[in-house]
Each structure stands twice: as structure tokens, then as C-alpha cells.
Amino acid sequence: MHVNTLRYITNSIPVIALVSLAGVAAAAQAPPPSGEAQLATMKQYCTGCHNDKAKIGGASFENVTAASIAQKPELFEKAVRKLQGRVMPPTGAKQPDGKAVDSLVAYLEDSLDKVPEEAHISSDQVLHRLNRKEYENAVRDLLLVDVNGAELLPPDDTAQGYDNIASALQVSPSFIEQYVIAAHNVAATAFGKADSRPQGWSFRAGPGTQLTHVPGLPLGTRGGILAKVNLPADGEYHINIADMANGLWGNQMEYENPLVVTVDNKIVYETVIGGEADTKFFDQVQNGALDRINARLKNIKFQATAGPHNIGVTFRRQSFAQSDDQLQVYEPGGGQDRSYRVNSFQLLGPFDAKGLSSTPSRDRIFICNPTKDKNKTPETCAKEIFAALAKRAYRRPVTNDDIADLMQYYADGVKQGGFESGIKEGVTGMLASPFFLYRGERLPAGLKPGEKYAVTDLELASKLSFFLWNSIPDDQLLDLAVKNKLSDPATLDAQVKRMLADARSKTLASDFVFQWLDMERLDAIVPDRDVFPYASGRLDPRQDYRTELTLFSDSILREDRSVVDLLNARHTYLNERLALQYGITDVKGDEFRRVELKDSARWGLLGKGAILMAAAYPNRTSPVLRGKFILNYIEGVPAVNPPPGVPALNDKDIGTTKALTVRELMAKHRASPTCSSCHAVMDPLGFALENFDGVGMWRDKDRFANAPIDSAGELPDGTKINGPDDLRNALLRHPDQFVQTFVENLLTYSMGRTHEYYDMPTVRRIVRETAAKDYKFSAIVQAVVRSEQFRMRRVPQPEPVQSARK
């Protein structure tokens, strides 16, 4: 089990030796070599260390024959990567010429692809606990309730950077406790409560100025908070907005800020904070001024029905002459606003619950109503309701046992509060059931250990929907599966197409792409205020960068373009704020929209702020981290962590006392021979991006060293590059290397198990097959779905049952 093969520790400086950007493909397309010459190369150059006596790294190639490859595929897959990356033979040792290495790689790959290896059809654990995001999406699709998984459930462990790996999704008592609590909460939200007691919700604004329009709030407003809330009953609700008259000494009161409260985009309350009268209050009355101004922000009442509502507390945008702009800047990145922020507000209610209007969730649940439908007893109705919901929740046809369980909950609930309570308890029980929380695959009877079989159509339906939607299957998928029609190749292709076209597939961008590129790292990069006053604090661009990356990747996948376009596409999605970060001045307003990029440095993933920032430090760029990023996630050559005892660069040297450029610092670092052999390969990749500063903005000069940026470097194959365009073009010369990395990652995400050496023949096959289709995204997904890894399972060898918990 590889629970601990977590992604390489991100803060350490990786060491990687010579890496070729000359990929696999050139060699792979030539006719397969015979073997003798290639094995001779191996003996000549590798056995100095990898012989039977020294066995360095546990490997010997002394008596290597064609048969050894089939005997030790794991070792030879490793050798392929080392050779592809030109990590071996190490710097300083005698080197074969490039063509000989390409030919050896092609030979080894060809041999490995022919090994009749079956381990890729897993007999390992496949029972998946729903992770936070899957739970969130499942609850939304099942009951039309929006919940925040991060608030409801404990964080999930990851393996190889993915949060959907079955073996890492362990369970502990606190998980059980929180899943049961979550079930109560979700059911309470979905049902509402006709006689609800007053409750309270608090909403806080994120950081940043509130000078621009918040998407979802009425046009003509600026800033504020948009809260999506699911109210428990019809009735009167109150809003209390946080004090605004709280500036020291009461200054900043002289400008009028017209405030509005909206419920579903209708104004329910208006007032003005600041202006002449309030200033006079402060100056002349003083006593009570604060309290009387802030009183206008309290006890704002409105009537609302049960169910989902959008509540907005925002300001009317003023005309240009009145100006909502910042008044003056007295500190970098800051300033005295004449425009207030809504920092937070509290919603309370219902104060006089008047029953329940119909809500989308209730309509979804109550498909049968015994008071309206006189032909049906409450019990019949309950069974009907449970059958419909449990089919989706458990993702299979419902059994008598299922209904019997749910009817027990129903009976408990009826005693407490009649039909409604009965159904609610049943739904709570359903959400806490292992049939909902776990997706498993049944072991068919009558097969021998080691035998392989295809998963059932029902299991296939779940696999597809969790892969492509990160959620439960819909009725169409389930119905096809029940009729055993889903596995029919034409039907399967059609369903994959349909699912990719569905809006729910945006999780491939927001979840898969983010995990593949380790965008979690972005959360930890809080830009340093002293170094980046223009992109920190309330000007922190990270949230906009995330939105851009999601929209950009989604556009490539959704338009079914070649995945290579991820590296090369000339468009992106920007709003005014982000456009200004990119030096583009003709994008206006807060909404993200598609923009064709004139500046080629910004094309593709490597020009995107999210990536440039995630592979940097909070206070400076890091050519090493960016080089490592490209190797790991673009080229698929895993970086190795540095040997113990290697000191990190002292950040204190940066731009402060000694005012060295990052390049000069790195040069100091490379003076050590231990470091130089590897960094010589990695650093040029990162240096090519040096014109992008630590927060992803373009620069021509190092401000602290007062020196121009030097982005020149040389790749291992001797190619001289200078700047992002050269780097991108060098990578694009071997697009198959990038596609191989993409396929490897997509396959891992689709299987929900860790990536292993025996998956490589499949990965290479998919790359070869989809080359003819221009590496179109849908072609790659179809190939993954058809792969044995995705479709097949093997009967495990019997083992004594023991606890998996360490």
C-alpha cells in the first residue's frame, strides 16, 4: 500500500540530474530495434556501478539479456525514466551519445510493452469512501442542497497528490461522528422546519477592497457580501450589519455610502452611511454619534419563504464625479478609502415561523404526499420516496432490506412528529449509511483467485460519474446500467460524450487539473507585503488566478481540443483586476471573459499566474521550484529530493543586505559540485521564466538588485533558450512527453489508486493511439475508460483478515 508515497515534499529543493527534453517519441516511432546493440550499450555504460558486486541502487545489469526485462519490469521501467531524463549515467561518468540512448529507451519500452504483465488489473482495495468534494457534489445532486464539505467533514488524506485514492481514504471514529452530524445537518437543510426556532448565520467578506461589482449581486452595485442561504421556514428574518462608524476618531465619515440590502435581487432596505449629516454629528454632537449611525445597520427586517435565497448587503455604485475611488495612499498597497466595506453581517430568524413554502429540495423529496393523494397510505408514500432517493444515493436498484431499514427510521420519526419527521429520519439514515458513503465493487461468485473479470455495469456507472463529475450517477446512467447496456461500446462512448458535455464535468478542471498541478501549494503562498505591495493583502491575486486556471483548463477540455493546447493556447480568461496584473488595459469590469492574448509569454499553462506563483516563494521567485514544476508536472520526470545536509538559500540575502539577483544566488549555490550536477539541468527551465516575478507579474528588472533580468540558459541537449517563448517552443517540440504526463495523471485520477510501474505500457499505448486523433481530450478520456485498469478487476488471493490500521 502506498499511502505514504505522498507528493514530493514541496519545500525542499529537488535535485535532478540531466534531463533531456528530447522525449520518447522520436525514437518510439522508428522500427523497434533488435536488442543486441542496445543491451551492449547498457553493459558498456551502466555496469561500472550496476554490477553484481557493487549493485549500486540495488540494480545490476551485468548479465542483462532480453529475458531479464520480462523478469524485472519494475527495474527496467525505472531505468527508462532515468535514461529518458538523462539522469543516468551520472554527470562525470562516460556518456553514450544521444542517439544510442534514444535507441536503448525505444528498445526497453518496446520490450516492456510486450511483457505479459497483469498486475495493472488490480486486486487491491477499491472500496472508496466519499471524500469531501464527492460528498458535497453527491448531496447537491441528490437533494439540491449546497453544503460546504470543508465545514462539515474532516480533511481527507492524499496519496500521490490526489484526494480520491482508495487506500488513503481511511476512516476513524471522528469521521464516523462527523458523517453522522453531516447527515443531520444536510437533512435539516433539505427539509426545513415549519415551526423553526430562530437561528443565526454569520457571513464574512473575503479580503480586498470592495470597489468592484460582486458577481451575483444586482448591477449598479459595488462590493458587499452575497450570501447564499437555505432558510428553514417562511417568516420574518432580521439582518444586523457590522458597525461602519468605527474609524479611529470617526474620520472617513465625510463621504456618502448608499447601502442596500437585497433579497433575491430585490431591495428590502436602503440607507446612507456617511455624508454631511453624519460628519456634523461627529463634529458637533459627538455624544451618541457612533451609536446612532451604526443603529441604521441593525434590525433590518424582511419576510422570506423557506428554501434557498440570495441575500446581498452592498452599496449603490456612485457616479464618477462622486467617485468610489481610493482617496489617498499612505502605505504601499493600502490607502484611506472613502468607500466603506461590508465586513460581515448576521442573519437571524425566523422570528415567527409561518410554515413551509415549497422549496426545490422538498419538491425533489416529496414525490408522493399522502394528504393530497388519497389513494396512498403514508407508508406507501414513504416507500415510494425512499425507493427513488435510495436508488440515486446507493447508486443501484434498491433492495427489500434497504427499504426495511429506512422504514424503521420512518417509524421512529413518525412517533416524534408524523409523516414529515418519518421521512426526514429516513433521509438522515440514508445519508449516514455505508451504502451512500462507500462505493464498492462486488466480488463475483465462482471465480478463482487471480482470475480477472469486468466490473458490472452498475459499478461502471459509478466509476464514470465519479471520474467525470466527481459525483453520483444520474438516472440515465443508472437506467442503462440496470439494463446492462452501459458496457456496450457504442453506448459507453455516447455516454462519455454526454457526460463531458454536461456542466458537471467542470470538476475535471477544478479538481483533476488542480490536483495534477499541485495547486494546493498556492494556498500556502501568502505574498509578502513588503516585497509585493502591489499584489498582497487586499490586492492578493490568488483567488483570481485560481478562477483563471479553472476557466482556462475547462475551455481546453470542454472544447475538446488537443491537450497539448494546455501548453500553447493563445487565449485565457480575465477580469479587469487580473488583466491589469498581466499589463492588459482594455478589459473592464469584474466578470471574467475570454481574452485573446497578444503577448505570447502568457500563452499556455506556463504563462498563468497561478502556476508561476505556486512555483515560487512568498517573497521571491525560485527558478528551482519552477524548474522542478516543469519536470514533475509537464515532463513527468520526477525530481529527486536533495541529499541530506544541503542548506536552503538564505532568503535574508535576497534584495536586502547584499542585493543579489536570484540568478547570482543560485550561482553561489551551484558552486558546490554536489549541487551543480543536478541544478545545471533544472535551473535553466526556471530561469527562462525569471521575467515573471514571484506573484506572476512581468518585470524587466530586478528591483532590489537594480539589474536587468537575464532569462537565458541552455538545455541538456544544447538548445539555447532565452525567455518563456523559447522554453515553450522547446517543450512543444516533443508534445508526446507532455501528453504522457497528462495521461499518467488522468489514469491515476480515474482509477482512484496510486500510479505504479505496471501502468506504463497502458499509458504509452494511449499516447500512441491518441496521437492520430491529435491528442484530443475526448479521445484520451475514451481510451482511459476503455483501459483494463478502468474496466477490469482481479480476484484477490485469500489472505487472513487483519486490521489495515497501523
Binding site: I181, H184, Q199, N246, L248, N299, K301, Q346, G440
Partner: protein, 428 residues
């Protein structure tokens, strides 16, 4: 005119809200109940509360004139007179290592660390860790919540530092605090119902898990085995909770949110703190009564100026009187908390006997933003290790860090220093 109209409306509504938010907790609070602490025989629980207020105190009306046991209570601390045998007033201390030219921003961060924020972590891994969080390491593992960090009012305060770089967020919404303490359900009846429902869920999911297990491969069955183990553990906890539910401690209904009236708000927070001690949900609580440079108005005391501008009193007697009024009011709401935990009996005494409570500020004279001498008062006896009933006056430049160290050491916490505190105060 608009404003006054609004004002009337607001007052009327407040009465309505008062009935739903304030009263259940405030008035029907726990009589002399028994606390739930479940500690091994012969061992009494050790509890800590650190309660800070901003803007210091008018020192000559904070410190009593006389020292020793026979002192006349000072005007600000008057509300604590009924508890004088539990009260130790410590005068004359200075928090020199935490002094910074930044008047408000950093002052609260130095109160429990005795280090200035810019130097957190420099003198060692624990430099900049606050006294409450050091206590948590020794007394936090026995309760469901290792510690509870709270604040009254909007704006953020940063008293509690778990590490030199991580401050703990202080919750200001009483509803959120309540749910942290008691979980779901707004009323006693709802909580009982949810507990029962949870019991039957846990019962039934075991049957379902066994059905699921039957159809799975070996390794998957192990996973379900782990799941079942976890379910049984939670079942055990639920049974414990049900038992506790039947104890005589009355848990009030959940508050709706943050009350608009400051007295309701204070009482609610202090009541929740008392409940957390009584129900033994946590043994370490840190509370900021307001944040530095706050603009709160105390209209309940007929003081309509913002707290911060008022604190720059410029030796204006009228303003100083108003400040004393506010400071006395803080002592008064705090005394309500002391009254409750004094009334709660447990093995070998009361909750107050077993508590160590620091009530003070990291500022002295707010007009000049100085930190010398600090207002500090200890309530409680640390299981008999703190005498109580005296006013101690230390010479100029005595160290505030010694006080923090003393509070921990008297509770047998083996810490050698906090900030500049290395010796402790033997007289306490």
C-alpha cells in the same frame, strides 16, 4: 427624524430578541449544580482562564491603597468584593520585553507571551507561545476541546499563540461557541432527540456494513472492519453522552446569534464559559473582552464616545471618570462569571477553587500607551496553591513574565520560563 424613528423600532425589537437570545441563558442559569469533571480519584482538575481587556486602567483607581490582606477594595474592582478571599491583586509589574512603539496593534499579542511579536520564535521554539497554550499541553488532553478562544465584539484579537507563528482565532459569535460546546440541537429536547436518532443510526449502519462486507474482496473487507470499529467507538461515546445528558446540569437553549446589547452579549459569553468549565468540555479558556483601539460605545452606561478616543483621556477628569465607569463595568460582568463557578461544587471544592484566572490588560495608562505598571488580578486558588485575599505591590520594573510563570508553576506545569519570567512570584 429618520434616525430617531429607527431608534424606537430598534428598542422594541430588542425586547423581543432579549426574550429569545438573552433570557434563557442569563436567568435560568445553573444553580448550584455539580460539575461533570471526570478525573481520577484524589486528583482535581486544573483549569485556566485568561481574560484580557484593552486600554489598560486608571491605575490609582484599579490598585487598592493598602497592600497585604487588609486592603480596601478599589473603585474599579468593587464588583469583586464578594470574592475577595479568592482575589489576588498584583501591582507594579511591567511587561518590558513586549514593549513596542506600536501602540495598539501588538499590545495584546505580548500580554500572555511576554515577548514582542517581532521577536516571536527568536529566543527558542517556545518564545512567543502564550501561557494559555503552554497550559494546554499539560491539561488539554483530558477534555473534548483542548482549549477555547473567545472574544466579545467585532474585530480580531490575538491573545492565544499555539506556536510563535500560529495565533488561534477567537470566536465571537455565541451561537458558534454553543455549537462547539454542545453540538447540534437548539433545545434540550432537540439534543435528546438527536442523540437517540444517532444511537439508532449507529445501530443500523452496523447491519448495513455487514451486508456490504459480505459481497467484497478480502482487502475491502478489512476496510469495512475498520469502519465497524470506528462505529462502535462512537456508539460508546454516544452512550456516555446520553448518561451525561441525564445529569443534573441544565444546558440552556442555543443562543440565536450575537446580541446587540453589550450586557446581554457579555453575560452570554461568560455563561458559556462557565458552562464549558462545569461540563468539563475544556479546561483552558482565553477571552478578549474587546480588541485594542475599539470604537465600542457603552450607551448602557450613558457613555456615547467610542472606547478608544475616550481612552486618550488627556487627564481630563470627566473622561477619566467615564473610563473608570467602563472598567468597573468590565469587572462587574466578569464577577458574574466568578459567581457562577464559585457556586459550582465538585469533588474537593468548587470549580473556582481549582481554577487559575488572570484578569488584566497589557496596557497601563491608555493616554500614553505605556505598559508599566500593568493592572493584573488573579481569581481562584490553583487547587490551594494560590493563597488569595491579598494585594501585592512589587517594586518598579518587576517582571510581568514572572506572573505568567507563577500561574503555570502553581498548577504543576513544569515550565522553566515564559518571556522574561524565570523565578516566579513566591508571595502569590
Amino acid at each position: 427624524m429618520f434616525i430617531s424613528k429607527k431608534h424606537i423600532a430598534r428598542r422594541r425589537v430588542l425586547q423581543g430578541i432579549g426574550a429569545t437570545i438573552g433570557l434563557p441563558l442569563l436567568e435560568s442559569m445553573i444553580p448550584a449544580a455539580t460539575a461533570w469533571a471526570d478525573t481520577p480519584a484524589g486528583k482535581t482538575p486544573k483549569r485556566f482562564a485568561f481574560i484580557g481587556f484593552p486600554h489598560g486602567a486608571i491605575m490609582d483607581r484599579w490598585s487598592p491603597k493598602e497592600t497585604g490582606t487588609d486592603f480596601t477594595i478599589s473603585p474599579i474592582l468593587q464588583p469583586l468584593e464578594p470574592f475577595r478571599k479568592h482575589l489576588t491583586i498584583v501591582s507594579g509589574l511591567r511587561n518590558k520585553p513586549a514593549e513596542t512603539p506600536e501602540p495598539h496593534a501588538y499590545i495584546e499579542q505580548g500580554w500572555l507571551t511576554a515577548v514582542k511579536p517581532a521577536e516571536f520564535g527568536k529566543a527558542g521554539p517556545d518564545s512567543g507561545v502564550s501561557a494559555d497554550q503552554i497550559a494546554v499541553r499539560y491539561v488539554g488532553q483530558d477534555t473534548r476541546l483542548p482549549s477555547l478562544e473567545l472574544s466579545v465584539g467585532q474585530g480580531s484579537a490575538r491573545l492565544a499563540w499555539r506556536t510563535p507563528t500560529q495565533s488561534l482565532p477567537q470566536e465571537s459569535n455565541p451561537r458558534a461557541v454553543f455549537q462547539k460546546l454542545f453540538g447540534q440541537g437548539d433545545t434540550d429536547q432537540e439534543r435528546a432527540q438527536i442523540l437517540a436518532e444517532t444511537g439508532s443510526i449507529l445501530d443500523r449502519v452496523q447491519g448495513q456494513a455487514q451486508r456490504l462486507q459480505a459481497s467484497l474482496g478480502v482487502k475491502d473487507r478489512v476496510v469495512v472492519g475498520d469502519y465497524l470499529d470506528s462505529v462502535r467507538e462512537i456508539e460508546r461515546r454516544v452512550q456516555m453522552a446520553e448518561k451525561a445528558h441525564n445529569s443534573e446540569l441544565v444546558i440552556p437553549d442555543a443562543p440565536v446569534g450575537t446580541p446587540n446589547e453589550i450586557t446581554d452579549y457579555f453575560k452570554l459569553m461568560f455563561d458559556l464559559m462557565a458552562l464549558a468549565f462545569q461540563a468539563d468540555i475544556t479546561r483552558v479558556i482565553t477571552l478578549s473582552m474587546d480588541h485594542e483601539a475599539s470604537m465600542r460605545t457603552y450607551t448602557n452606561l450613558s457613555i456615547a464616545e467610542g472606547f478608544h478616543p475616550l481612552s486618550h483621556h488627556g487627564n481630563n477628569p470627566e473622561k477619566m471618570d467615564k473610563l473608570v465607569k467602563i472598567q468597573n463595568y468590565h469587572a462587574q460582568v466578569f464577577a458574574g462569571f466568578i459567581k457562577k463557578i464559585e457556586a459550582t461544587k465538585e469533588a474537593n471544592g468548587t470549580v473556582l477553587d481549582h481554577s487559575t484566572i488572570l484578569f488584566g490588560s497589557d496596557m497601563s495608562n491608555s493616554d500614553r500607551h505605556n505598559n508599566d505598571p500593568l493592572p493584573s488580578a488573579i481569581l481562584g486558588h490553583a487547587n490551594g496553591k494560590i493563597k488569595g485575599g491579598q494585594h501585592l505591590k512589587y517594586p518598579q520594573d518587576s517582571r510581568h513574565g514572572e506572573l505568567l510563570l507563577t500561574l503555570l508553576q502553581r498548577n504543576e506545569i513544569p515550565v522553566k520560563s515564559i518571556g522574561d519570567g524565570v523565578d516566579g512570584l513566591s508571595e502569590v
